[in-house]
Amino acid sequence: MTLTVVKTTALTGTITNAQLAGGIDLTAKVTGTLPIANGGTNSTATTFVNATTNVTGALPIVNGGTGATSFSPGKIAQVISGGTSSSTSTSSSSFVNSNCTVAITPTASNSKVLLQFSGNGIFVTAQATAMAFQLVRTVGGVSTNLSTKFARYVGYMTTLAALNDMQEACSFEFLDSPSTTSATTYTIQIQRETGSGSVTLCANGQASSFVAMEVLA
């Protein structure tokens, strides 16, 4: 017959590893506050800080914050892509509108508008004939010439070889201060700068791009 000893009083003293062979149910058997030194937080809270609603003030720079209580938004308010692949041919020695335009409505009157033009399919029909460009801004039906003869003598060299195989490209940028919040259209104008032939932009349907970017003050 085996004698079984039943202990009816609580254990005192140190619990040995052997006595923990079955493990401790941390969910049900552990109460109280874990001391910080042993890895606990000394917190009995079951919820934590909501960074969205419970944090106020400026984060200190040393902890990764900037110390700023406000920020400046980006400077590019809008980017409008214009241009055309519809050609314009002219023998005019004064400037004529091309089909290459871009329309933008600035959101602030002190904004600047950065214009980027990339013209393709520049073609001339006769020896020593060349093209020049002009940039025009139109607001409310009133046109203002922004840059007389922005690029001159473009295409001059194309007459040295087979005409139809020699087409040039030309690009330029312009920073405008239109001082308006009204609808604004920019137009590329061209003219025959020299020679007796005609000049063409976007020959054979080659596309020219014309981009307007509003830059906030």
Binding site: S86, S87, T88, T90, F95, N97, T148
Partner: protein, 73 residues
């Protein structure tokens, strides 16, 4: 298209020198319908831009005459 522009430009020059015109389209410039889309310079404004009209001020530059000259080229 460029071939037509090239011939048209040369034909106009052969028939009457120093005539200034503009053609704003990707179409073949080989019909009277397209010829009637030509903008002819009639002056210059204060911006240095051409004043233009589709009314042809050059009586000798009819489509028939221009086409005949183009066909010679």
């Amino acid at each position: 298209m460029i071939d037509d522009i090239n011939k048209f430009s040369t034909a106009i020059n052969n028939l009457k020198a120093n005539v200034e015109w503009t053609y704003n389209a990707n179409n073949q410039l080989n019909s009277e319908e397209e010829f009637n889309k030509i903008l002819w310079n009639t002056g210059v404004d204060s911006n240095g831009s051409a004043i233009q009209s589709t009314t042809n001020p050059h009586s000798e530059l009819t489509w028939t005459a221009v086409k005949a000259e183009m066909d010679k080229l």
